[in-house]
Amino acid sequence: MSGRLAWSLRGSAVLAAAVLAAVLPFVTSDFLSFQLARMGIFLIAIMGLNILTGYTGQISIGHGAFMSVGGYTTAILASQHGIPDYWTVPLAGLLTGLVGLAFGVPALRLAGLYLALATFGVAVATPSIEKRWESLTKGSTGISLLSFHSNHWLYGVTWAFAAGLFVLAWLIVHGRLGRTFKALRDSEIAAVSMGVNPAFYKALAFGISAFYAGIAGALYTVQNAYVSPDTFPITLSLYLLIGAMIGGLGSMSGLLAGAAFVEFVPIHASGIVAAISPFHLDTKSAGVPSVLFGLVVVVLVLVLPDGASGLLRRLGSPLANRLYSSR
């Protein structure tokens, strides 16, 4: 298949998806719009995490903490300084990006599992720090936003952000920056010998991914019109990493699958388990979504180490390879 044909196929697929996405809120229920908006939020956070973990190979189990930074920034700016909430979102993203950049500098010295441990610690400890820092965060009470928006509006804003950020990520990943990231991931020694300063680029990757997480957190707070230390628990950070992994790290195509997985599997878990279990189990219990989610993750990793994009590549072969290859 010629390159141009593949490109136009890809282009029309994207266009069709965009049209579908724009029309969707008018034909779906209010609640589904809410869920799809949340999926968009997860998609944004996962895109950022993918740039960090998939492209520069730095494992982070702490992106929920970055989301909370964005969430609290939005809440504080909107409720205490009267800035309209949708303006606070980019500001929150920028601030979180700076925090990420700052975190990225010491993170350089930590490789692989050590970084995973450190970010795990950050994610577990951040809620308690937020609880304690009452002067800023109002502690356990949390901060409420004053304005509410319709779910359809939220859906539109969220996916507008998601689309824009997707384009940005795509440009980053396919441009010089992305190639530098990949070079660093594949062989840091080789990259350094070519004149790449690993410190700068790795910290930059942290900053970019934190920026994305900050925007996601800000949108999350706007959607719920509330933020508290319990809004972004450790499980969220875990879910984000899993979402990125399921999408297939280091590729843009599977991320939608990852975001959809994180949003919809826990919610429908009870229904799925009830449908497939041969004997009568108490499927309404709080643990069921986690069991299904965890089980699916384990099975997926064992069966598909490359995630959804790997599966796409294997299934669709020539066509999928052309359309989806971004390695």
Partner: protein, 298 residues
Amino acid sequence: MVLAFTFSQLAQQVVSGLASGGIYGSLALAIVLIYRSTRVVNFAQGEMATFTTFVAWSLMHHMSYWPAFALTLLIAFGSGVALERIVIRPVERGPVLPVVIITIGLLILVNGLSSWIWGSDVKSFPSAFSTRPIRVAGVAFSIQDLGIIGVSLGAVALLTLFFRFTKVGLAMRAVALNPAESELVGVRVGRMLALGWGLAAALGALSGMMVAPSVFLEPNMMLSVLLYAFAAAVLGGLESPIGAVVGGLVLGVVLNLAGTYIGFVGSELRLAVGLAVILAVLLVRPAGLFGRAVARKV
């Protein structure tokens, strides 16, 4: 900062810090055991411990404490071995990220399983030791604290003997050093790794049963203990079993003293102190107290 103390209060805080430290150290030892031989950090170690503690809780409705305790350790051992064979073995020898994801998946799965089977309401767990105080040199200590220290150190001592003086223990140490070489002398590496997971799971169960009486049994019980265990393991050096135990004891005491004597830490910021320890060690001396400083492998 309010700083006022009496000697007896200090002694009590140190002892109870050592008791918490014994709990953190046991879980840290479990993590180090697995890390040494497989380079994998088992993020699910805490949840596995919670699950087996729930099992103990159920058993204790049908039998007295120590038989249930022993049986739980056996069950934990078996489940650790089974997990390694079924879930970890296929991905053990490859890159580290998929295994990390699997252990995270296990974390979520086991946490959900505990919730599903036993419910998320808080349960009380019997203590092996009475909560009466005992006076030593005029200072009142809790028997429970002393008992926990005893059990933890006893477990560590048993393991040390096992590793130093038995053939299997020697083989496990060899596998941790050089799996390929171990195969050439006839050691079945897979079996040794499974054994490691089993021992780690048993240690986790021990840790869970020691902590449950004070923090009450519920599915999220071990999440913060896991953080402290990571901090202890990192402090001691991720490859050093002694380091894990010493790190745990030190951390327990430091956390307790900081919580008692440093005003703004209080009880809420203990987690933050644990995090600070992790970060400080990793940034200043990643090998920890007992680890070997390894030059970056090119």
